[in-house]
């Protein structure tokens, strides 16, 4: 298993909504503390919340972008959940890609660290926050999707992404 714990933002993510502008590009911040045990208790019970303004998401297609920061979660005031569409600003991009740094793009959240309830009563949770960039019509810009995707996308009518996915969770 990879060292997942070292690359988590500090807890208290709900504050990010208010401090959106001041937290640009905050991806992985490893906090150092003196008392290891107290910190690890807090760390392992991290409260996962919605994908909201300021959330950094990984881009998991080959559209050219690497990291996108959410600037608006469509549909909900609280924030986006798994399977919902967001508007993001490309923060990091590959040199030769379909999108450049600074572009404003639409994206579908395909992996969210916050659990989402399914209709059979179970909950799913992924390891990180990831998006697939789409255009306004909902069609993916890239041609490949990496990593697992949830089958919540089928209900949300993002069938093309499911078709490109290598694994459906």
């Amino acid at each position: 298993m990879a060292a997942r714990f070292l690359s988590k933002s500090p807890s208290g993510r709900s504050l990010l909504g208010a401090l959106g502008t001041s937290l640009l590009g905050v991806g992985s911040v490893a906090r150092e503390t003196t008392s290891k045990h107290a910190y690890s208790d807090i760390l392992f019970q991290q409260q996962r919340t919605f994908v909201q303004m300021g959330t950094n998401l990984k881009v998991v297609d080959n559209s050219g972008a690497k990291r996108v920061m959410c600037i608006q979660a469509l549909k909900s005031k609280k924030g986006a959940k798994l399977g919902e569409v967001i508007i993001g600003s490309v923060k990091e991009a590959q040199p030769r890609g379909k999108v450049k740094k600074g572009d404003v793009v639409y994206g579908v959240v395909v992996r969210a660290a916050m659990q989402r309830g399914r209709c059979d009563g179970s909950h799913v949770r992924f390891d990180d926050n990831a998006v697939v960039l789409v255009n306004k019509q909902g069609e993916p810009i890239g041609t490949r999707v990496f990593g697992p995707v949830p089958h919540e996308l089928r209900k949300k009518k993002h069938v093309k992404i499911l078709a490109l996915a290598e694994h459906i969770a």
Binding site: M1, F44, Q45, R111, Q115, D120, G121, S122, H123, V124, R125, F126, D127, D128, G147, P148, P150, E166, H167, A169
Partner: protein, 167 residues
């Protein structure tokens, strides 16, 4: 609907319970309750955590090899619905689980009888040796009922004569 097994403690997860964690390599971990989920997040190895089935099976506390386990094995081939088959299976399930439960219980009782026998031997030895703590030896000599009956072991003298002397 499918009854899954918890990745950590191996108990069955009924619908509506637990959390499913999908790792980026597409491996799915299912947990029956937050206890197991939190232990997983702490990176604990279930084979080292005493209350899990994995530990118990590994350390021989619970039954590992049995024919009743074959029935529960996951088969990834979907079966065409056959009414007679389904009815038979539904009738067989409680019987199989009953048999399995009795076998597991027997395994545990068998495992524990060894300790029981040993403890009884120990108690007998302690009684013989430390009876003087309870009653004075003079009292014991007078009243024969207070001591344990001495066990008689027969030694066949014919055998001992035939064995050659080792120089």
């Amino acid at each position: 609907m499918r009854l899954e097994k918890c990745w950590f403690c191996s108990s069955t997860i009924y619908p509506g319970h637990g959390i499913q964690f999908v790792r980026n390599d597409a491996k799915i971990f299912r947990f029956c309750r937050s206890k197991c989920h939190k232990n997983f997040k702490m990176k604990r190895n279930p084979r080292k955590v005493k209350w899990t089935k994995a530990y118990r099976r590994l350390h021989g506390k619970d039954m590992t090899q049995d024919s009743t386990f074959e029935f529960e094995r996951k088969r990834n081939r979907p079966q065409r619905y056959d009414r007679i088959n389904t009815e038979k299976v539904l009738q067989a399930i409680p019987k199989i689980s009953k048999v399995k439960a009795t076998r597991e219980k027997d395994h545990i009782t068998r495992r524990l009888t060894v300790g029981k026998v040993n403890r009884r031997k120990e108690d007998r030895r302690e009684l013989e040796q430390s009876i003087s703590l309870v009653k004075a030896p003079s009292v014991l000599k007078e009243d024969a009922t207070l001591t344990l009956p001495k066990q008689k072991v027969t030694v066949s003298y014919a055998q001992t004569e035939n064995t050659p002397m080792e120089e």
